[in-house]
Symmetry: C2
């Protein structure tokens, strides 16, 4: 039962067929006769054969690896996306190779270069803000590529996500509709995705004549709960009349909520709080925090499905899939 050294040839000998027949019985069983297929299956079982992926890749030039490049693995947002990806992959012959670009475009670039050289079955990259060079690598790559989290005008290949700007605008419009008149924007690191959310926020404010260029509080640091508290404190010091905050994500929103508690600021009466992503925590906090539900898990699943469909060949999927978003209005913005 030791399988570490069992090769195709061993299985072939055991089943009394040639190696190529074993290969076919395993990879394209429909072109092998039923009886041979069974002989092979039995031999595989008896010997405990497990295919050598390296040899398969080397011989065929195509691997079963889907490369995934995300900017952070500790950010809860990507945790849910990853869960979707890993679960979707379980039903397929694919494997995931995960790489962390740490929010550095040049690191993303070099990771993509390495992936490209390994001839992956497909690639999933977060966001639509790749460098020119990165796009070049993806363009010349002969494998399906899915951009995830966000959709934009000019996808590299396929994309699955939603409009960050529209989502932020919807949340902001909700704040205004609830009667808040001096909304602020709390963001952490100002990456392009955050910027587009801010543009949505601005659009919604301007639509009601409420935009104030001084309402944004951001920093260079990575997002965290602690940072949410600090940002709220800073904004309230600088602009005490602030009566609501749109937070760039739920960690910041929760941090802001705790800070409000510490300062005895009533939420939602004196201060409205809105988060982004609808992680579990904002659904159960006291008060529960309004947030924008983004289809994190579904985008992960969808990305894998797009790649699988493309490789299967039949009925090609729409290259851009808008998964939408949902505003989850809760007590933290329930002013009246």
């Amino acid at each position: 039962m030791r399988n570490s050294k069992v090769t195709l040839a061993d299985v072939a000998a055991e089943a009394e067929v040639s190696t190529i027949t074993v290969s076919r019985a395993l990879n394209r069983p429909e072109i092998v006769s039923e009886q041979v297929r069974k002989r092979v299956r039995d031999a595989v079982g008896r010997l405990g054969y497990v295919p050598n992926q390296a040899a398969r890749l080397l011989a065929s030039g195509r691997s079963n690896v889907i490369g995934v490049v995300i900017p952070s693995i500790s950010n809860n947002v990507f945790t849910d996306v990853l869960r979707g990806i890993y679960e979707a992959v379980e039903a397929t012959p694919f494997e995931i190779q995960l790489a962390n670009a740490r929010y550095k475009p040049e690191r993303e670039e070099s990771l993509l270069r390495i992936f490209a050289a390994q001839r992956p079955a497909g690639l999933i990259v977060a966001g639509i803000d790749q460098t020119e060079a990165a796009r070049g690598i993806l363009d010349t790559l002969d494998a399906p590529v899915v951009q995830i989290m966000e959709i934009g005008a000019d996808p590299v290949d396929m994309a699955i996500g939603f409009s960050q700007g529209d989502a932020a605008a919807a949340a902001t419009a909700h704040l205004i509709a609830q009667g808040y008149r001096r909304p602020g924007f709390l963001g952490a690191r100002l990456d392009p995705r955050t910027r587009r959310r801010f543009e949505g926020f601005r659009r919604a404010c301007e639509a009601k004549g409420l935009f104030d260029p001084d309402c944004m509080e951001t920093t260079e640091q990575a997002s965290s709960i602690q940072l949410g508290g600090e940002l709220l404190a800073a904004l309230l010091t600088r602009r005490p009349e602030t009566d609501a905050v749109f937070c760039n994500n739920d960690d910041i929103a929760i941090g802001a909520l705790f800070e409000a508690h510490r300062r005895g600021i009533a939420v939602p009466e004196r201060l409205g709080i809105c988060g982004f992503n609808d992680l579990e925590i904002v659904r159960h906090s006291v008060p529960a925090v309004t947030s924008v539900a983004t289809p994190l898990y579904e985008m992960g699943r969808g990305a894998v499905e797009l790649i699988a469909a493309r490789l299967k060949g039949e009925d090609q999927p729409e290259p851009v899939r808008d998964m939408g978003f949902r505003l989850m209005a809760r007590d933290s913005t329930q002013r009246r």
Copy 2:
């Protein structure tokens, strides 16, 4: 600059040496003369050569992949461990292949079987509760294996972690020292690790004659914030005199805290709450929640370092590394 088809042979031609020399210049530069090394380096740069890992693996029989098997990727605990693993790997030639066993021993077994067939450079597995068959696979595997999260009597190979029982006992002793007399235990799914924490809890209670077999509230479901609230509600209904809860992890502790808020139960006066793992959220909640700081990130890093040291050969590391834990006493148990 297209690298997708540049092979060792191309580099060899460009540098006017043989392929094996290029291989050596890349993998064991110290045995190649300085001038040849430079010629090769230049040729690699000019052609944009990236080695084909599959061919390397096939020829050498050893890969640069460290397989990681964890029971969940959405659980925040593993997020931090993974961050440690991925960061440690960046300084090395290794790559990570991550697999999710979903808390199912038989799934873990089959994942290990697959990994074993790929001749990994090393393996990291969470916990010390592998099945007999899984241990068999690991035993016959000719690669370093690190068990992570917990240390026990009989490691497969190497282990890095701490005593779950001692950590739980320390937290429970703290609750008792703070004057709580009817502590309860809130746990989610009752896996062996949770069981050992419960044993620690029981030990600490019995030491003060305070153990009550009826104090444990658990469920089949996976841990979550919502579940923390439900467990607290259930325990208080069943056993209203409960004056403190040791929660099996921080999600449950935070859920319990929110539930206490909703019910108007004063924390820490009427109810003490203690969590486990010291995630960011418990440090900033109101009140801040007492927890046991576990070296998640460090265990991740350490596991990779153990594997790297073993493969390097020199000064073999201690096979079992106890990383300890720290009780972080905060307001949620500050009764007096």
